[in-house]
């Protein structure tokens, strides 16, 4: 709806739309003898700047010919004339101040946003001992500034979107022109444009819309809180997405191997990095399969257990009322409850929960003869190992339960068959054109440079073929 020239009508119009909120301020003043009003949201607008740099200057004017000329005396960067009430409301809610003057059609919008933001700090996830200490924040502008600061390329493209019919959240699509695959950027752009939702409080909302398989257990969009990782992925040919309000940036296409690649791997010696990656793979295998193998060995394949260990188990399970599978299920349940509680509880209570869970519950259930010591040990080991690859815990914790159920039902054969089905599934799916299990299935020899084992940075001469970047060469060796 177009704005009027009468101040009262404009004021009523805006009041009708957003005026019922107490934090929306209608500040009346006069300019060259005419009534004027500045409308802004108290909590997100810089009032000091409004007074000193806007209102003080306007009030000094003796005559108003039109809004355009008047706006020119405001020396702030983003000043514009708006003519529709919808735009007006949007500007106000974005933290800008909108100034109406009686007799003038339209309004002046001045960018005076002032949010309380978290300062850039080390990200709590993806921690690296060596490497940059900064992480993304909830403010998209800060995040974009971080990217721009470290990626000073004229090829970096940033496309902005507004998603959320109510929240109008800012979403940015980032890629490096000539390195990102055009089909992928086009597809993501199309998908972002197609999103219809009332609001996106976090990037995970956007990720759900970008998932190619909606019902898949497995993660399909890469996430990171680290600008260095984000930039690294853009350089590999991936496309990044930043969402206002979320410190987690999204990257696509996603491949499973990504989450085994820690940021630190690239900053430390490649020997140590290779060892660390090997440990991650082994730990994850232990986390997922160990409880299942332990249960199936007890139920179906006693011969798998060394005699001494078998006797330890026999000693341990004496008098325990639960069968091995139920026992392990029970411990897993306790573990998941403790996990859930420790995440949700306030920090100071969480500490107590840790003590209660680990010492009181753990010790007591063993002494009470409800579960056996070996079973607690196995689950504890699994519980620790699963966090060596924290980004896929959502999938791996479900897989652990799934394998446990198969093992408890039909033993090792169940584990093998279940693993076989998952292998077929994962090896045949593609994520924005990239094979999910690359570089192992299909085997892409070039990409093995940064797989479970990795080469030195100076040996990684080409970008990953699985991403399909049109610009394949990444570095040239000096030798």
């Amino acid at each position: 709806m177009e704005l009027f020239s009468e101040l009262n009508l404009n004021r009523d119009l805006i009041e009708t739309k957003i005026g019922e909120s107490d934090d929306v301020v209608f500040f009346s003043f006069s300019v060259a003898g005419k009534d004027a009003v500045a409308i802004y949201v108290d909590s997100i607008t810089d009032k000091e700047l409004l007074g000193l740099e806007v209102l003080a200057r306007i009030e000094r004017e003796k005559e108003i010919s039109d809004l355009k000329k008047l706006s020119e005396i405001i020396t702030l960067a983003s000043v514009k004339i708006i003519t529709s009430s919808t735009e007006c409301v949007k500007e106000i809610l974005n933290g800008n101040a909108v100034i109406f003057i009686d007799g003038q059609t339209g309004a002046i919008s001045v960018d005076l946003k002032k949010y309380e933001t978290r300062s850039i700090s080390e990200p709590p996830t993806g921690f690296a001992i060596k490497g940059p200490r900064n992480g993304f924040t909830e403010t998209i502008k800060t995040n974009l500034s971080l990217i721009r600061r470290y990626l000073k390329s004229e090829k970096l493209r940033i496309e902005n979107f507004e998603i959320g019919t109510i929240t109008s959240s800012s979403v940015s699509l980032l890629y490096i022109d000539g390195i990102a695959k055009k089909q992928v950027t086009d597809k993501i752009r199309r998908k972002l444009n197609e999103i219809v939702i009332d609001g996106v409080p976090d990037s995970s909302y956007v990720a759900k819309f970008l998932n190619e398989r909606k019902n898949s257990l497995f993660k399909q969009v890469g996430t990171t809180e680290r600008p260095d990782v984000f930039i690294e992925r853009l350089l590999e040919g991936r496309v990044g997405i930043l969402v206002d309000g979320s410190p987690f940036a999204l990257t696509l296409p996603y491949m499973l191997i990504e989450d085994f690649q820690s940021a630190e791997d690239y900053y430390i010696s490649s020997f140590r990095a290779n060892l660390a990656r090997g440990i991650r793979v082994v730990s994850l295998a232990i986390a997922i399969f160990l409880p299942a193998f332990f249960v199936s060995a007890q139920l179906f394949h006693i011969q798998l257990l060394p005699l001494n260990f078998l006797l330890t188990i026999v000693n341990g399970i004496r008098g325990i009322p639960l069968s091995p599978s139920l026992e392990m299920f029970f411990i897993l349940l306790i573990f998941e409850i403790l996990n859930e509680t420790s995440v949700r509880m306030p920090k100071y209570v969480g500490m107590a929960i840790g003590v209660v869970g680990a010492l009181v519950l753990g010790e007591t259930v063993v002494h009470a003869g409800i579960v056996s010591t070996p079973a607690v040990l196995i689950m504890a080991l699994s519980g620790i190992c699963i966090y060596t690859v924290p980004d896929i815990v959502e999938s791996t914790s479900v897989l652990r339960l799934l394998f446990l159920m198969f093992a408890g039902s039909i033993g090792v054969y169940g584990i093998i068959v279940c693993f076989g089905i998952i292998l077929i599934y994962l090896s045949t799916i593609e994520n924005y054109g990239s094979p999910y299990l690359a570089p192992y299935s299909p085997l892409i020899s070039n990409d093995l440079q940064d797989g479970i084992t990795m080469k030195r940075i100076d040996e990684m001469l080409r970008r990953p073929e699985s991403i399909g970047s049109p610009n394949k060469i990444r570095s040239k060796t000096n030798e």
Binding site: F300, H301, I302, Q303, L304, L305, P306, L307, N308, F309, I410, G411, V412, Y413, G414, I416, V417, C418, F419, G420, I421, L423, I424, Y425, S427, T428, P435, L437, A438, Y440, S441, P442, L443, I444, E465, S466, G468
Partner: protein
């Protein structure tokens, strides 16, 4: 699925990973029963014959310019006739599937369980088999990339564990009894009709330089691995080999018997079991492919379900008559399978060929 082309590397991996795994259970003991000390010659003879027919199949792929057998037949003898031939192919693959499936079931039942009901291992196998067949060539190709390591690592571990107990004089006298060698080859031929798989891959191969050489080398490598495996078993068990029906859990047993860590050889056996499931499902996979081509079901899941359901019924119905059926299959099924494996490609070779249409090279498959 129809347009998917399998790369040469993936065929090589399928050969080493799945074809080898199909020979690691009963084959060694049955060959030993007939061929005695000539076991290695017997296996080598069977596999070399198959290598020749695999070469012919690969040449057919080159000759017909990337057209599948179905397309070649449709163009020359009409679609209905091509469908009939594909139905015959389905029947052959179905026949060929009996032995691997029953062998796999027995292996799992006898080695992984003290006691377990039949359904526990039959049903999961068929679920996997249906899904494997449903995913088509892409699933086979991509799974082969992974499975090859399971077969190679599993069998090499077992061979390594067996080596200290191997007595190479068990293979003496060399070729003194050629009749036994021949008898061993004939009696175990059913395990070695591998060339038939490659016939179905005609027109689906993403050709590259020296395609034939690479795939034949892979098959020969598979032969070497099989020979090492069978040789290690025979070298260790000698005359008793003929009753070692489940070598993966028997080969390493002697070496690990008196050590405190227990049956670590079982982990190698589990690796082999993993590849073995896929190799047992391989004939059912191709049977589904043929049935789908014959009836062109709208839903791709129907053919795999029908094939696996039929196999399930056959396996459960014959579970009490396993040895009767086993003899029946080894004695009679061998002939129709031999005809399709060996004579059909020769007939096809006389058809007029076509120019190879070169496709765009993809970065990965």
């Amino acid at each position: 699925m129809n347009d998917f082309k399998i790369s040469v590397r993936q065929i090589c991996f399928m050969t080493i990973g799945l074809i080898t795994a199909s020979k690691l259970i009963f084959m060694t003991s049955i060959t030993a029963e007939y061929a005695k000390e000539g076991i290695l010659f017997s296996i080598a003879a069977d596999m070399l014959v198959n290598a020749v027919f695999i070469f012919i199949a690969l040449k057919l792929d080159e000759k017909f310019g990337g057209k599948t057998i179905f397309e070649i037949l449709s163009e020359r003898i009409g679609v209905p006739a091509a469908k009939i031939i594909y139905f015959i192919f389905f029947a052959i693959f179905f026949l060929k599937s009996y032995l691997p499936v029953i062998e796999h079931e027995e292996y799992i039942k006898k080695t992984l369980y003290e006691t377990a009901p039949l359904y526990a291992n039959v049903i999961p196998f068929f679920i996997l088999s249906i899904y494997f067949s449903y995913k088509g060539l892409k699933g086979l190709a991509r799974a082969s990339d992974v499975l090859v390591w399971f077969t190679v690592v599993g069998s090499l571990c077992l061979i390594a564990l067996t080596l200290p107990n191997v007595d190479i004089t068990e293979f003496l006298p060399v070729l003194a009894r050629p009749r036994l060698v021949l008898s061993g080859s004939l009696k175990t031929a059913l395990w070695h009709f591998d060339s038939i798989y490659y016939l179905l891959l005609v027109g689906r191969i993403k050709r590259e330089k020296k395609t034939e050489l690479k795939i034949i080398s892979a098959y020969l490598l598979s032969m070497v691995l099989t020979l090492l495996y069978a040789g290690a078993t025979y070298g260790e068990y000698g005359v008793l080999t003929e009753r070692q029906y489940f070598p993966p859990v028997e080969m390493g047993m002697i070496s690990v018997a008196l050590i405190n860590v227990g049956r670590i050889d079982y982990f190698a056996a589990i690796l082999i079991s993993f590849s073995q499931i896929f190799s047992a499902a391989l004939p059912l996979f191709f049977a589904s492919l043929c049935l789908q081509k014959t009836f062109s079901f709208k839903n791709k899941i129907i053919a795999p379900i029908v094939v696996n359901l039929l196999s399930f019924i056959l396996i459960t119905a014959t579970s009490d008559l396993i040895f009767v059926f086993y003899d029946l299959f080894t004695d009679y099924a061998v002939y129709p399978i031999a005809v399709v494996s060996f004579i059909f490609p020769i007939i096809l070779a006389f058809f007029k060929g076509e120019k190879q249409i070169k496709g765009e090279r993809l970065l990965y498959e």
